[in-house]
């Protein structure tokens, strides 16, 4: 996989994670919260997810699915990064081992 394709894969996963957070946010919207603001957050979530989706489908035309799909595992890495930014929580050692396994797996697949 070229660097450009790899960056697109990462961007696609980032969009999926961000879009999902936006959408879930609108589902737990406070009862007396602003309605138009909620609609805007919903629309933004859908737009971000659609962008990630079409990047992903574009990549599918270029690679075997069995090659591309393991890269989806990388999205957990972004959740950890988001969690460490927003929660200031220290990740457990088993989490690091899991992430290390995912990254090694993706590296192996990318060389296959």
């Amino acid at each position: 996989m070229s660097l450009a394709s790899f960056l697109l894969t990462v961007l696609s996963q980032l969009c999926m994670v961000a879009g999902q957070i936006f959408l879930k946010k609108t589902m737990s919207w406070p009862e007396h919260g602003s309605k138009p603001w909620r609609a805007a957050v919903f629309a933004t979530g859908v737009a971000i997810m659609a962008l990630g989706f079409f990047i992903w489908v574009g990549l599918m035309a270029q690679f075997d699915l069995s090659y591309l799909f393991p890269f989806e595992g990388l999205h957990y890495l972004f959740v950890v990064i988001a969690a460490s930014i927003f929660l200031k929580e220290r990740a457990s050692w088993s989490l690091w081992i899991g992430l290390f396994l995912i990254c090694s797996g993706v590296a192996l697949v990318s060389g296959s």
Binding site: I21, M27, G98, L101, I102
Partner: protein
Amino acid sequence: MPASQTPHPAPLRPAFNPYFTIGISVVLDAAAQVLLKIGADHSITPGSFGLAGLHSGWVWLGIIALVSSLASWLYSLRFVALNIAANLTAGVHVLVPLACWFFLGEKINLVRWAGIALVIAGVFMVARPLMKAEQEVEEKL
């Protein structure tokens, strides 16, 4: 649009067995990936943005499967403990390569199988703490 209604409390008894719906969600997600792949091969020039995929019926089937999978997933999460749901998320990484080999005839060499196995083990390890963290991030935002 259902999203603009106030959320109603979960009923005491789910209409469907949540373990069934969570399994359905995983299978639909894998099916969506295979359908999208077939559609992408039919409609998109390699190396371009995927918008042209909308010309393919396969891609639309994939979108329907993906949205149904998400709906089934969100439904299940109201009834199934987070850690049980998390343990099943690795399932899609098992099903997709098998479907690639069986339905798409992709040739998967030993190195790729080994990489896939590592990803499955990793996802299995991280899914539970991460779903918890994800929820906390969402509550904080």
